[in-house]
């Protein structure tokens, strides 16, 4: 069976709260809040969003101003733009995409990371790479 995808066309302007229980593609303008908790939201190349976004996955090809929370993934494609804070366990940002804001990829229920007791953990230096760099200490 073919999956239903709803489109909000280029000429459509929505102000307010947008809730849904199916995948949605936005090519128009939306201001307010978008909630598609278990579904995929796609902001098309012509889409302009000024909203808080909550969805399972968010694919951005247009412009988003606002915070984006996704339970699975945020994908900012080439020429896509996000200005806001992203919370999602997985984030893909293409070369040519624009992003300003914060990224928090901590997953719910993730086991807490252990903290070293004293000094920070030493990071092994591969011998070959260290020799290739041949860095010298500068007397500062």
């Amino acid at each position: 069976m073919e999956k239903d995808i709803v489109n909000i066309g280029k000429s459509v302007v929505i102000k307010g709260e947008l809730n849904g229980s199916e995948d949605l593609t936005i090519e128009g303008h939306v201001e307010g809040t978008i909630q598609l908790r278990d579904h995929v939201l796609t902001i098309g190349p012509n889409g302009k969003i000024k909203a808080q976004v909550f969805a399972k996955a968010v694919i951005v090809l247009g412009e988003v101003h606002g915070n984006v929370t996704a339970s699975e993934k945020v994908d900012i494609r080439d020429n896509g733009s996000v200005e806001g804070d992203i919370v999602s366990p997985r984030i893909a940002i293409a070369e040519g995409a624009h992003f300003k804001g914060s990224v928090d990829m901590q997953r719910k229920g993730a086991a807490p990371q252990g903290k070293p007791a004293a000094a920070p953990a030493p990071v092994p230096q591969p011998q070959a790479a260290a020799q290739a760099a041949a860095p010298q200490r500068v007397g500062v």
Binding site: Q106, Q113, P120
Partner: protein, 216 residues
Amino acid sequence: MGLLDRISSRRGDHEPAVFQTPAASDPLFSTKALRKFLSCLTSREQPVLIDLGPVVGSNIAYFGEQLGCKIFVTDLFADLDRFAREGRVEGFADYLDKKFTQDSASVDGILCWDFIDYLDKPTAAHLAMHLTRVLRPEGALLGFFGNAAQNGDSHYNKFIVADEGVNLKARAYPALRRRQSVLLNRDIIKLFSGLRVSDSFLLKNNQREILFRKPA
């Protein structure tokens, strides 16, 4: 739990990170300071990181997914370019006051890259003041400083972490603003007088990498 343990445990519990493959033409250089910077970060539970550079998808995957950092991507290069285009670079210091709204001592690490080289000295001092303020005690700041004046077209560099932080790729992209001056080591130390130099390296590409730590 060390850095490598943390990386392997994070990789194991969900699908592996997909890294962008940097263009083959991007100059690759080995970095010592970045590894030390990373080891400072991984001593924290969920380190908070400020990246002054433009967004790089693979860096986000590396710092966010593998190291568990919360990352603030500020792209000050884009802001500086916009100020240069509009002919109001002198107002950039005031802009920084609005930009750095983080609480004092709330940030674990700052990737300054080579941004300081593109600022005049008063604006650089203003930025350094903000960065020093937001850095928590024992926090780390990584800065690159050129050793020679910029020749040819003006450009910024997008630094791409490669090989788990052993190497960096520098991808040049066009800029309106040129490097302003070559800072002497003593000028750099004076600029970040609230921090101490933890490590300093002169690379073969004539770039100085300096890792600062904020005293406890």
